[in-house]
């Protein structure tokens, strides 16, 4: 009896240890580039560019000079502001277009709504690299080349389809009887929507806000193609394309800015990841 229990303990220990080992190895793989950015951001140049030094260690005292350089000698703050501006505008447009569409698809259009919804989901799968050349022409015909407006105009083509799809699922989960009761109580269709349905859909709306913002902050191909003026770039293009001194990469400031710009976006996205996954795993559930 005691022997069996000991063997059980031993097995349990092995399982826990095995899991810790596997997860530890994978976490090292996935998080290492970010840890590396963080270490590099605080290292002196003389420490960084000495191949004899242990790169995992601060062989000389840490420094803030790279951070200072990023904020005083580069357009980093400018790029962040551009990114935020585009993100907020895209969130606004996305909600304006996707809220009514998602609501209508889930409430009124029945089988057709489901079909149109799946169609929207498929549009989300269209990658920027298929359309960036014709869209670059569209942008320059509209005289939006080299402006943030080009991105504000084009990013909703990525966010609206997914947002519509997500919101459609959310509105579906809110029983229409609640709205009908409000209609019976004398509210208009609009009033019922605003006072009954919309408050219940707040979690979905928050997810859409975060999702649209992070997608615009992550986007690279359109931003690289439409904006060549350094001061008007977003951070996802400015850092990889223009954070160079002369012709050489300046790794301290480069890593500092990459870390500063990517981790907040990652944290935001992390909070809506489960809804993102649900959006996928339910892609065929609605016929």
């Amino acid at each position: 009896m005691a022997d069996r229990r000991r063997r059980g303990d031993w097995r349990r220990g092995l399982r826990i240890g095995g899991r810790a080992l596997i997860l530890g190895a994978f976490c090292t793989f996935t998080a290492f580039p970010f840890a590396w950015m963080l270490i590099t951001a605080f290292k002196r140049n003389s420490d960084l560019y000495n191949p004899v030094n242990n790169p995992f260690w601060f062989n000389e005292p840490p420094t803030l000079e790279h951070l200072e350089y990023v904020f005083t000698k580069t357009l980093f703050a400018n790029w962040i502001a551009n990114t935020a501006l585009v993100g907020v505008a895209v969130v606004g447009i996305t909600l304006l277009l996707a809220l009514p569409a998602g609501y209508s698809l889930s409430r009124f259009l029945g089988a057709w709504g489901a079909r149109l919804g799946v169609g929207m989901f498929l549009v989300y799968l269209v990658p920027p690299t298929l359309l960036f050349i014709p869209l670059a022409r569209v942008v320059s015909e509209l005289r939006l080349h080299n402006t943030l407006w080009s991105l504000i105009l084009i990013y909703p083509t990525i966010t609206v389809p997914f947002a519509t799809w997500l919101l459609m699922g959310f509105f579906k989960s809110i029983p229409p009887e609640l709205e009908e009761q409000a209609l019976v109580d004398g509210y208009s269709r609009m009033g019922a929507f605003l006072r009954v349905t919309l408050p219940l859909a707040v979690p979905g709306i928050i997810a859409v806000v975060i999702f649209s913002f992070t997608i615009s902050a992550q986007e690279f191909v359109y931003a690289l193609s439409f904006v060549t003026n350094v001061a008007r770039k977003t951070v996802s293009v400015g850092v990889p394309a223009d954070m160079v001194r002369g012709d050489i990469f300046d790794w301290g400031p480069l890593m500092a800015s990459a870390f500063l710009a990517s981790v907040p976006v990652a944290v935001l996205y992390y909070f809506v990841m489960d809804k993102f996954v649900r959006g996928f795993t339910t892609a065929g559930a609605i016929r």
Binding site: R19, F26, L131, R137, V239, P240, A258
Partner: protein
Amino acid sequence: MRSSTAAVRPLTGVLARGGRWLRRERVLAPLLVLPAFGYVALLVGLPFLYALYLSLTDATTGNPYGAFIGLRNFSEVVQDRVFRAALKNTFVFTLSAQGAVILLSNILARALSGDFRGKGFVLFLLLLPWVAPVSLSTIGWLWILHARFSVLDWVGWQLGLLPHGQNTFWLGKPNLAMFSVVMVHVWRMLPFATVVLLAGLTALPRDLLDQAEVDGAGFWRKLVQIELPLLLPIMSVAVLFGTIFTFTDMAVVYVLTRGGPFDTTQVLSSLAFFKGIVGGNLSVGAAISLFLFPVLLVAAVLILRAARRAEVT
């Protein structure tokens, strides 16, 4: 005065009637859907047709309308050595990355199933490659794979795998550069596949697995005969989405190698960018990126079919 009130009255009448008319669902429903679908039709549908048109002309940035030249772009493109390499690379990168992702995500998702302390933080670390902007995180790799100061080289020196002071040139030699690009793609897609698979694992019918255990089925038997068949649809969704993502990605190649050394890591999308946007040859660029479309279409159809069978809700 009089004429203005007379004009206002029918207007309010129209508005009132319009209001009633608007409240009817047959009118309201399409009206609410229209802005979103109109937007998408104008800025996704039309540009796609425009890409088809561009690919049949000789348009450049200097002469954006060009003249109709039929399929000449396509016939010239397929004879181009660099294009062939890019086409091959696109498939090689996608297939090898997705192969590795299938294997690794299956291991990782199993290690993650069930509850344990600190799971939220572990998940955050694991999801980082997917939730961070790819163009920025790939710069981290660019530094890790640096020609002279690569940390991997340093570790190699310490472990005696590499003569001290000698560099690997991860991004400077064709085969290593291809390996590096694939590795970063695996790194990027692994988190997504893992969490999708994890959703599938949690939804597996517990009683069925318990029954199998009672009946004496071991780990491998349960895995091969019960779990994998049940997980197949949802795994397909993850893999197909990953396929689309890797197949059409440009950021990883652009940041790591710009297609080099000597175009050995060029892919369709980066080649289309360099020809169409950087070089200004719109028609050829459009023709090259249209080669992405068939694979995209097949993957999208398969996603819908697989997801229909998955239904993890």
